[in-house]
Symmetry: C2
Subunit: 477 residues, 2 copies
C-alpha cells in the first residue's frame, strides 16, 4: 500500500495551519481536527523577513544588546531632590510645555492633553481662562515637546510646565538624571485632562507647600533608594505601574523619619505626609523616572535592537530603539485600552492609549510584572491566570531576566526585560501594557483602566530602519 | 474466557493501596504499578471511626459549626488602647505570669520559656539576677497560667508579666476584648528566651516611652481597624503570621497621622515611629489578638466541632474546641519545626514548636494563607508551589471560606478557615502552621523558621471527648 493510499484509507487526524476555513469544512463533516494558532514570522512581510534574516544571530547585535540590558539592570536610581522644572530640566524655558508620547502639534493633540495644557497655562498665569489658554496654545507662542526628549516622563497627558516641581532621580551607576512631576491622586486631576479650580489649586499647593517640605526632607537623606523599594514592592503585590500601594507605603515609611528631622511644624507635616498617605499612586511618579533613568543609560548603543522608550500621546504610539537615533521615533496610531470602566462610562468615552507610563513596561515592570501582582486584575480586569500568562509571554520578546525585579508567582524568576524589536517581529507577540484611561474630551478625567498593546507598525518601521542603518554600513557581513 | 482467566492472561495494570510491599515486589518484576497514598479514616482506629460515624452529617453539629464560622468571620477587631497587663487583663495580679500554649508547670517548661520568665521577673523587679529569678520561679510563689485562658496571646514563649504593656483589641461585633504584648523585634528578644540587659532595657523603654506615646495616639483614633489592614495585607504578600511587612507598613501609615496630633516632641515621635518602622513583625502582635478576639467569640457553642485555639508551650501542643469546655485542653507532645536555620544552628538546637501564634492559623491566616504570600518561602523554606498547595489542602479540613481574607494566587478565593476536628480525623490532614524556632536553651534566641503540624493525638482526644459529651446527652438520635 503506497503512503498516499494509506493516508486516504486511514481515518484522518488533521492539524490545520493558517486560514481556519479548512477546519470549518472538516468540522461540518465531523472530522476531528486541531487549528494551530500560527502566523508566519513578521506577518509574512518579505522585507521584514529579509531584515530579520540579516539580524538574527548577528554577533554585533547580540553583544550590543547584552550591553544594553546590563546597563538597564545595573542602573541604580535614587530620589535626590524635588525642584521646579525650569530650574532642573535641560532646555526647559518659560514658554515650553512638555507632554507625553512622541512629538505632536497642538492641533493633533487628544482631548485630555489639550485639557491638561489649558490647565497648565492657567496654572502658570500665562492665561486667565480656558478660552485665552486655547488661543495661546494655538498661537504658536508656546513650544510643545515630548518629555521623553528631556530626560523626563509624565503619566497620561504627562504635562510638565516650567513652574511645576519635579522629582529629581539620579541613576548613580551611570550618572544621568530623570524627572517626573508629583502624582496628584485620583479623580479630577490634570494628567487625565481635568483643569477645574480645584485641580489648579492642588497644583499650586504642591508647588508652594508640598515640594518645599519634601525638598527639606530629601536634603537630609543620602537619596531614597528607588531600586530597593521597587524590588520589595514587586514581592508585595505591586507591579509599579497601576498598582503602587506597597511601594508608596514603603516610600512613606522611609521618608517620614527625615520629615521629622526638618523644622516643619507638625501641622505642615500632617498635611504633607497625609498627601502621600492618601494617594496610593504616589510612587508611580517615582517608578517612572526611575525606569527612565535606567533606560536612558542604555540609549545610543550602536547595533542594539533593544527598545528604550514606549510612549503614547493619545493619538500616536511611539517607540525608540537604543541603536537608532536618540530622537528617532517610530510611530503609529495608538490603540484603545481594553478593560474596566468606572460606572457611567464605556469604551466610547475613552481617549486612545495615553501617557509615558509605559516606560515601566519598557523597564520590565508594570504589565510585564503583573503576574506577581494578582490584585491588579481587580483594577484592570481579567483573571489572575491572565496576569501570570502575560508575564510569562514577555520572555518571548525580551533579551534578559532582571533578577533585581523578580516575580514571586513565577517562583521568583527574574522579570522579562529588554524588549528586542527582532523578537517582537519574529514572534508577533506585542509588549503588554496596563494603563489608566482618560475621557477623550478635555476637562473630564479618568474613566477606567485596562490592558493595551503597541501597534505592531512601530516595531516594523523600527526593524526596517535598523536593518537599513546597519546593513548599509556593514556590507562585509 | 472467564474474567479471572482474562485477568491472568492480560498484562497487569496495578494500583496498590496500603502497604507498599506489594508494589516493591512488582517493581522487582518490572511490572508497572501505582502506589495510592491512602490511609483509612481516623488511622483505622475503630473508636474514632464510631465517633466519626455518629458525628458526620449530624444536623446539630452542622448548625453549630455554621454559627461558629459566622461569628469568626463577622468579628471585627480594632486596636483601641495599650495599657499595662495588670490594669486590663482579667484576673491578672502582681505575682502572675502568663505563658503561651496549654497549662504547664515551671519544672516541665522548655528552655526559652524559662529564659523569658527569668527575664520577666528581673524586668518586674521581683528578682535581682538570674539565679534569684530561677529560685523564685521554682518556689511556687509565682502563679503561671496560659495567656489563652486570659483572653490573651503571646508569640513564642509568650510571656506576659503584670507591668508589660499590652495592645487592647476590641471585637466590636461581639463586644469581647483580646490582649497581646508589643513585638520586640528580631534578634535577642524575650519571646525567644533571651534575657540579657539589652532585652530588659528594651522592655523598660516599651513600658515607659513607647506605650505611653502609642496610648496618646490611639486615644485620638476611633480604633485602628485591624480587619481592614489584615485583608489588605493578604493581597500584599503577607500571611500575617511570619510575614507582616505590608501590614506593619499599613499600620504605620495609619497611626502616623494620630502621632502627629499628640503633644509628643518630634524627637520622641522619631524614636517611637522608628521603632515600628524598624520592626517588620510589629503587626504580628496585632494579628494575633485580632485572631484571638474573633475565635474567642466562637467559643462555647454547644455541638460545634470547630477548633478555637491551637497553642504550644514548647513541650505540649494543645487545642480547644468550641463545643467543649472553655479551658478543656487536648494536648500531646509538640513536634519539631522543619525549615531554614540561621547560620551556625541546626535542628538539634531548636526547641519544639512554641507559641500562641498558631492562633493565626486557627483564624485561617498564617500557614493557611501562605499560598498568597510567596515571599514567605524565603523565610520558612520550600517552594512557592508548596505554599500554594498548603493553602489548597486546608479546605479539606475546614468548614468555611473567609471572603474577607481572600487569597490572590487562588484567584481571590476566600481562605480556608474554621478547622473541624471531624474533618481532620476523617482525612488525616493536619493543619499547617509556619513558625519561628527558638533555641532550646534559655537565653539564646531565635535559630530559624519553618513549617510544623500539630500532633494528631490532640484531635483524636478532642474527637473522643466530643463524641462522649454529645452522644451521651443525645441518645434519642
Amino acid at each position: 500500500m503506497s503512503r498516499a493510499t494509506e493516508l486516504f484509507n486511514d481515518s484522518l487526524r488533521v492539524i490545520n495551519i493558517g486560514t481556519s476555513k479548512f477546519k470549518d469544512d472538516l468540522d461540518l463533516q465531523n472530522v476531528e481536527s486541531v487549528q494551530l494558532d500560527w502566523r508566519p514570522p513578521a506577518g509574512g512581510n518579505t522585507q521584514l523577513i529579509a531584515a530579520l534574516d540579516f539580524l538574527q544571530g548577528n554577533d554585533q547585535v547580540e553583544a550590543a544588546n547584552l550591553e544594553a540590558i546590563t546597563r538597564i539592570k545595573d542602573a541604580h536610581p535614587y530620589l535626590i531632590d524635588i525642584e521646579q522644572a525650569i530650574h532642573v530640566i535641560p532646555n526647559m524655558h518659560k514658554k515650553k510645555i512638555l507632554h507625553s508620547g512622541p512629538p505632536i502639534t497642538w492641533e493633533r493633540m487628544c482631548g485630555p492633553a489639550k485639557g491638561a495644557i489649558i490647565g497648565a497655562l492657567i496654572y502658570e498665569g500665562l492665561a486667565k481662562n480656558e478660552e485665552a489658554a486655547e488661543n495661546l496654545a494655538a498661537s504658536g507662542e508656546i513650544e510643545f515637546a515630548p518629555a521623553n526628549e528631556h530626560s523626563a516622563v509624565g503619566p497620561m497627558a504627562g504635562i510638565i510646565s516650567p513652574s511645576m516641581p519635579v522629582h529629581v532621580v539620579e541613576n548613580r551607576t551611570h550618572g544621568n538624571r530623570a524627572y517626573c512631576t508629583v502624582n496628584e491622586g485620583l479623580g479630577k486631576v490634570l494628567r487625565f485632562g481635568a483643569n477645574s479650580v480645584e485641580v489648579i489649586e492642588r497644583l499650586k499647593w504642591i508647588e508652594t507647600v508640598f515640594a518645599p517640605a519634601l525638598k527639606k526632607a530629601l536634603a537630609l537623606t543620602d537619596g531614597v533608594d528607588l531600586k530597593s523599594i521597587t524590588s520589595q514592592a514587586l514581592h508585595m503585590g505591586d507591579e509599579c505601574h497601576n498598582r503602587n500601594k506597597a511601594a508608596t507605603s514603603l516610600f512613606n515609611r522611609e521618608i517620614i523619619d527625615y520629615f521629622l528631622q526638618t523644622d516643619l511644624t507638625k501641622d505642615v507635616l500632617r498635611e504633607v505626609i497625609g498627601f502621600i498617605r492618601g494617594n496610593e499612586h504616589y510612587f508611580l511618579n517615582l517608578s517612572m523616572p526611575a525606569s527612565k533613568s535606567a533606560l536612558e543609560a542604555a540609549q545610543g548603543i550602536p547595533y542594539s535592537s533593544i527598545v528604550t522608550t514606549m510612549a503614547r500621546n493619545g493619538v500616536d504610539f511611539g517607540i525608540r530603539v537604543s541603536g537608532l537615533g536618540e530622537n528617532e521615533w517610530f510611530t503609529a496610531p495608538a490603540n484603545l485600552v481594553k478593560g474596566l470602566f468606572f460606572p457611567g462610562y464605556s469604551e466610547e468615552d475613552a481617549a486612545p492609549d495615553l501617557g509615558d507610563s509605559a516606560i515601566t513596561e519598557t523597564m520590565g515592570i508594570g504589565g510585564f510584572a503583573m503576574g506577581g501582582s494578582p490584585a491588579i486584575v481587580q483594577f484592570v480586569g481579567g483573571e489572575v491566570e491572565d496576569a501570570i500568562a502575560y508575564s510569562e509571554q514577555m520572555y518571548e520578546i525580551t533579551a534578559g531576566e532582571n533578577t533585581n525585579y523578580s516575580i514571586p508567582t513565577l517562583n521568583f524568576r527574574g522579570g522579562a526585560y529588554g524588549i528586542d524589536i527582532r523578537k517582537v517581529i519574529e514572534t508577533n507577540v506585542l509588549p503588554v501594557i496596563n494603563s489608566g484611561m482618560a475621557h477623550k474630551q478635555a476637562g473630564i478625567g479618568q474613566v477606567g483602566a485596562g490592558v493595551v498593546h503597541p501597534p505592531v507598525a512601530c516595531f516594523e518601521q523600527a526593524m526596517l530602519a535598523f536593518a537599513n542603518k546597519y546593513r548599509g554600513g556593514d556590507q562585509h557581513e
